[in-house]
Amino acid sequence: MCNMGDFDYLIIGNSAGTVGCIEGLRSVDKNSTVALVAEEDCHIYSRALIPYYLGGQITRDKMYYRPLDFYDRARVCVFQGHRAVKIDSAVRVVELDNGSRLGYGKLLIATGGKPVFPPIPGLDKQNVFSFHSMPDLMGIEKELAGARSAVVLGGGVIGLMAAEALHKRGIKVHVLELAERLLAPVVDETTSHLVEGALQKAGLALYLNNTIDQVNGTERVESVTLKDGRNIPCDLLIVGVGVAPRVELAEGTGIEVNRGILVDKKMQTSVPGIFACGDCASIYNFVTGVEQNMPLWPNAYLGGRIAGFNMAGIERAFIQGTTMNAMHFFDVNIVNAGINVIGANQGNGLEVIQKHDSDGQTYRKFVLSENGQIKGFILVGQIARAGIFLNLMRRKIDVRAFQLELFKNDFGYADLPETLRWKLLQDDVILGVV
């Protein structure tokens, strides 16, 4: 157990962003004192593994994101089971829920997000859960044994992962989505329809343009009445409509908030010495050039890592972040990055090239800027070597000279024009030997 006191570096949170920060910090600074405050009273786990656990693919010990001795080895003091309630930036002190105070030299806010509950009466009943935390997981797990029918509110990425996991446990699953298609606005219409097909084939019931009008039951939900009047009996209700950044600690500190806590490319907030990363932050999106809340694991980890370097005085910029998802629903694999749905205000100068194979199961689409840079892509079915596209995107390569090659399922560096290929692989090959 650690003693209260002053620390060179203090972190609030205990997830992807926190680990990124600790690993970044410790790779350059072995001696400074580091502490973290964690509201959840358990070792660091990956919430992205909740669907895998509830779907029966992994055991509980696999939920841990780092080994149990991680903090000891990194020499981090952990204040677990406590919530930070206030930041006093003038004197550089964080106050915990038990009244104790921790001083800091530099502070990272990695408080993540909290699940959104829409304003429907009755969502506080016993068998209603979000799909976000260890308590959710344990609550849902308890209900699984007796459950035969479940309603999932929300047809986004998390809602659909929940739906598939419950289906795998033999439960009849009903998915409700307010929009006219699933996964909007994460993927485009074609992809939505491919996913809808896969879910229906597996036997899930989908209700589009629909939501809950009324939750029926006293202590427990027994059924829900839909907007269109239909009634679905259920033993379990999962709310997966979204996650909102947890920014409450910024209040009264002068830290600027723009949906998430606004940070510059060094991950520093508007208050010097205080950094933020992950689901609670608004970070630079290299595709759109603006700061946005992009609540995804790679952004949280890397944002934290870069914050760690900067906190230790080593300048690094976070310029690799954008929206990116690797998803799978039953046997359909999907990856996307950047812009793949062109909204009314983004159409300017963007060109779409796409190919939907005759078998109906492979689909590729690239969004190109006027000067031929990839601004986004989505691949369905065949996703091998997708990272090369993300690399071309990050390096802002003009792809027009070889744009049709992008549709090859085995696209690789060999398909690039010679000069570009050897430039990108300059440290990886030896030329001029013959």
Partner: protein, 145 residues
């Protein structure tokens, strides 16, 4: 920490590096037994890039700041500070394919048999780098850098 480098001009495109990589990661480490008798047919963890007459092998770069590790949602990937290797633990992997999406070299491979990835481990535990030592034209070398 070094890396394996290809010499495209002397690569003949024989794919023997892929064959021997698969053998290196088989149970028996024996080319005939591995391909004929093992239940799980061995799989290579590198790719020969090909646009004839150009061919060259490309394997994981064991990056200094690996994007695959950044993206891994399960903790199955990490960079070992001592050896410099980017290590994958198949027991921890759930096959989310975030690493496939982020590896700039396209060097994380989907295991066709189960929801899991496979990648180069620089022949951990073996006495040579199989792709390098079995290339008949010495088109692969290991360089310290």
């Amino acid at each position: 920490m070094g890396r394996i480098k290809a010499k495209p001009e002397v690569c003949m495109g024989c794919h023997l590096c892929e064959v021997w990589c698969a053998v290196a990661h088989s149970k028996s480490k024996h080319i005939i037994k591995a391909f004929l008798y093992e239940d799980d047919k061995p799989l290579p963890r590198l790719v020969v890039e090909e646009k004839l007459p150009l061919t060259f092998a490309l394997q994981c770069r064991h990056c200094a700041e690996p994007d695959c590790v950044t993206a891994c949602i399960s903790g199955a990937l990490w960079k070992d500070p001592e050896s410099g290797r980017v290590v994958h633990d198949p027991n921890q992997c759930v096959g989310c394919y975030s690493c496939v999406l982020t590896c700039p070299y396209g060097n994380v491979f989907i295991n066709p048999r189960k929801r899991e990835i496979i990648k180069c481990d620089l022949c951990a535990g073996l006495d040579t780098l199989y792709c390098v030592s079995h290339c008949p034209n010495e088109a692969l070398v290991y360089e310290d850098c």
